[in-house]
Symmetry: C2
């Protein structure tokens, strides 16, 4: 049975980490909120599921994944859950734990990238927090982004199985997420990302390797891949792309 | 063999979620950075481990836990890892997944609580971002805090095994973390937390139930429990405690 992925239909956002994993695995899924309302899909279907008063394990927010009767929220938990069946993670508990640790650090960096345009609150518009955004972006571009990217670089460099992927010798969901993170940084902060990535050649190679995986390449070229835009996590506001 | 917990010695911070779990389980551990430098412990020992150039699975930041040769970072992953052995989570994959999902949502709320006093950047002092902090705290106290607390309340209310805990009929690490979250909110935002918690009686009861668990009560009364202070995640700045 196909998974039902519930996420906002017009942005990549956090849902994109799940879409990428399902696409790379060739796992059948329905992107519910992008479906036809007349067929019982669309955003109303997402909202019905999110607000279902009978749900005993209600998700806090999209993305969430429905697998039959099981509903799972939180991006990293969804990935942890689907990865074992779809061979996007090693089988050992230690391998799963390490992959999850990397994923949560990617999530931390994604949060910080998001907060560059929303430092005051997600319920306000960017236009209502521009001076604050400028200060926050300064700290992100000059300090936090290089620090995180160096950590990922170090992990690849020290991987006992070689420098092709983050964990072991095969692609995991963490590699897909790192690919997406680099895509997002390059979109939102083209100059700052280029500067930081010039010092992390291994993860740039990893990014390119992921992009060439046939199922990933097919997905990226398809209409299923929503282009980046200024409603998502990664937004291109040139005034926030700061290089020292 | 005792775990080695590596975390900053003068704050509760994110390390407190791990300390609480280990204390509640009766698991032997060394709080390394709080030990004696002359005995090879203290902050230098934490820094040596964090910067170890030979580490193949280096943590990004404290807290991290050393279990023999295994080193694990990210609070939620540490809890997921230790919980199975110490019976702080159900044994089924579904139970572990749901508990982790709740934990990550607690972590999201903790991040937002932290960002009330550091909306611009963690490398700056609070004193250098006070106007921004005021705006961020407004959104947190009036919108985000009640929304998160209602979600936890709903989970307890809908728990098929009864309303004593978040997951099933036994205490899990998520209950300990929710206890700690409520403690922190009450310290940092006494008026706003009282207002929001007045509408969530089940999680207030849960908090009190956790506080009475003998090992938890003993820990809280011991010198091992560091008092809240203005260097941690939860800081008492009365100007940020906003009620509408």
């Amino acid at each position: 049975m196909a998974y039902e992925l519930h996420y906002w239909p017009t942005i990549q956002g956090r849902g994109e980490f799940v879409r990428l994993a399902l696409e790379a695995a060739g796992a059948p899924y329905i992107d519910v909120a992008r479906g036809d309302e007349a067929a019982g899909q669309g955003v109303p279907a997402l909202m019905r599921q999110l607000k279902d008063p009978k749900a005993v394990q209600p998700p806090f927010a999209p993305p969430f994944l429905k697998d039959g009767a099981v509903v799972i929220g939180q991006t990293a938990v969804i990935l942890h859950y689907v990865a074992l069946e779809w061979k996007l993670v090693g089988r050992s508990e230690q391998s799963r734990t390490w992959t999850q640790q990397i994923q949560l650090t990617i999530a931390d960096m994604v949060n910080e990238a998001h907060d560059t345009h929303h430092p005051i609150g997600i319920d306000l518009y960017y236009e209502d927090q521009k001076p604050e955004a400028l200060r926050r972006a300064q700290a992100f571009c000059t300090t936090r982004m290089p620090k995180y990217l160096q950590w990922f670089e170090q992990i690849v460099a020290r991987n006992p199985a070689g420098t092709r992927f983050l964990v072991g010798g095969k692609m995991s969901y963490a590699d897909l997420s790192l690919f997406q993170l680099i895509e997002g940084l390059r979109y939102a902060f083209p100059k700052a990302a280029a500067s930081a990535l010039a010092r992390t050649p291994l993860i740039v190679d990893l990014h390119d390797r992921v992009a060439e995986v046939p199922r990933v390449a097919a997905y990226l070229a398809s209409p299923r891949r929503i282009p980046f835009n200024e409603q998502g996590l990664f937004r291109c506001y040139p005034e926030l792309d700061l290089v020292t």
